[in-house]
């Protein structure tokens, strides 16, 4: 069971980091520039309601069963028990899909909620656009970015469990739930469900406490 949990965790870690690495910059750009926002918002709004799970079969077709070990040319590990072997690209892709939209939306919200007075003050104090972006807009957006990340990781965790129950893998905690159901081992099934709930709560609390400090600093002034 430890192995399955580890596989699921590493999958989420990869997919979620990718979502953050792409979602935050995209959100910053969309928040800061009307043109970028207009250009991208239709795409985001069309893509957002598409459930990540709905895309799993498609992404398996696109990425085949390719895994990270193949990506890095480590074919010889194929028949060994190795983490990289279980990192199917299709799975990582739908995790990214599940996590990226809350992050983008949270970041946009953060950038747009910066107080006008703070921007004006920065301008009068001689800050150029980039300087103000770095030292005023990003710090004021941080609480909302963290909120987006929190929603994002929650989504990722839901997506991975569901995805692991479907074809395309034989590892992970979601697979564990389905497999133990088929073997009528309801004790293992229930234990897995408890683990899922516990880890989900940990993620959410962890990001919340990370975001806390920035939230306190901003909200006190309001």
């Amino acid at each position: 069971m430890a192995w399955s949990t580890l596989v699921s965790l590493v999958r989420v870690a990869l997919g979620f980091s990718l979502a953050g690495l792409i979602g935050i910059p995209v959100g910053l750009l969309m928040g800061a520039s009307v043109h970028v926002r207009k250009f991208l918002s239709l795409m985001v709004e069309m893509a957002r309601p598409l459930s990540a799970i709905a895309l799993l079969p498609l992404s398996i077709i696109i990425f085949k069963a390719r895994t990270f070990s193949q990506l890095f040319g480590l074919e010889h590990l194929r028949y060994q028990k190795c983490l990289l072997n279980e990192m199917q690209l299709g799975m990582i892709f739908i995790l990214f899909w599940g996590g990226v939209f809350p992050i983008i939306l949270g970041t946009i919200q953060g950038v747009r909620s910066v107080r006008k007075m703070h921007l004006e003050a920065a301008g009068i104090l001689g800050a150029g656009r980039l300087f103000a972006f770095r030292h005023v807009i990003i710090p004021s957006a941080l609480p909302d970015i963290f909120h987006g990340l929190k929603l994002g990781i929650g989504r990722c965790w839901m997506v991975i469990i569901a995805a692991e129950m479907l074809p395309g893998t034989n590892s992970g905690i979601g697979y564990m739930i389905r497999y133990s159901y088929q073997l009528s081992r309801y004790d293992i099934m229930l234990a897995s469900i408890v683990i899922v709930a516990f880890i989900g709560a940990l993620f959410s609390k962890g990001l919340e406490s990370l975001g806390e400090k920035s939230l306190v600093l901003r909200s006190r002034e309001r």
Binding site: I124, L125, G126, A127, F131, P139, S214, L217, R218
Partner: protein, 251 residues
């Protein structure tokens, strides 16, 4: 030397289909080193006037003319907002350092400048505090320090003490007078508090109701050390109050 010249300035706001003529036309100028107070009732457009001079609003007609900095660069303008313009996520030190950092001034010089201004303003012990940990008066003191550290050619102040209680506000007025004696900065100060204007200013301009126009100009001929209880002080106070009352009774 003229530090600021405002010519035929008038401003209209357009909110959806409605047009509000907020200000003007007004004309005035300030000599370098002067302290000019703009006094007016709420809603006369005095804040708008200040924001236009700072370049935050665009005038419909007229011009704001601020001569270039002696070394040839653009004029350095300081602006102290009513309240809450400090960056809440930065320490007091970082807030004051902001403009110097934006100008890419060397770190050692930055530290020296910030520390000397903190000392001058009696804020040294709050250097690493965050704005929300300070009282309202201390916050405004820090905001003033943040503007003064730039060594501005023109300092614009938008009712900076109006949110404070009377005692704190008077204390800050006294501090401001002492600071300016040393620094000889040109100041344009906006307020609706007549006593504050008489205490601080070398000259007072009274603006009437919207659209704000100059209804009176008065040179405050009082010594540098002013007593709020002296006869001449009270005379100015009463005389300006009369102008104010007449504005309220027939706007």
């Amino acid at each position: 030397m003229t530090a600021l010249k405002v010519t035929d300035l008038s401003i209209t706001f357009r909110e959806s289909s409605r047009e509000v003529h907020a200000l003007g036309p007004v004309d005035f100028e300030i000599e370098a080193g002067e302290f000019l107070c703009i006094l007016g009732p709420t809603g006369c457009g005095k804040t708008t006037l200040l924001r236009t001079i700072a370049g935050l609003e665009k005038p419909d007609t007229g011009e704001v003319d601020i001569p270039l900095h002696p070394d040839g660069g653009g004029p350095v303008i300081g602006f102290v907002f009513q309240q809450g313009a400090l960056f809440p996520w930065m320490s007091i030190f970082a807030n004051i350092e902001f403009s110097l950092k934006a100008k890419k001034i060397d770190k050692v010089i930055r530290r020296q400048k910030v520390e000397s201004i903190l000392e001058m303003m009696g804020l040294s012990s709050f250097s690493s505090s965050y704005p929300h940990q300070l009282s309202g008066g201390m916050q405004q003191r820090a905001a003033l320090a943040r503007s003064l550290v730039m060594d501005p050619d023109l300092l614009l102040m938008d009712e900076p003490f109006s949110s404070l209680d009377m005692r704190t506000s008077q204390e800050l007025q006294e501090n401001l007078r002492e600071l300016l004696k040393k620094a000889s900065t040109t100041v344009l100060f906006v307020t609706h508090n007549i006593e504050e204007a008489v205490y601080l200013a070398g000259e007072v301009i009274v603006l009437g109701h919207r659209p704000g126009r100059i209804v009176r100009r008065e040179i405050i001929d009082l010594p540098d050390r002013r007593s709020r209880l002296s006869d001449t002080f009270t005379e100015y106070l009463v005389s300006l109050r009369k102008t104010f009352e007449s504005l309220v009774s027939n706007p």
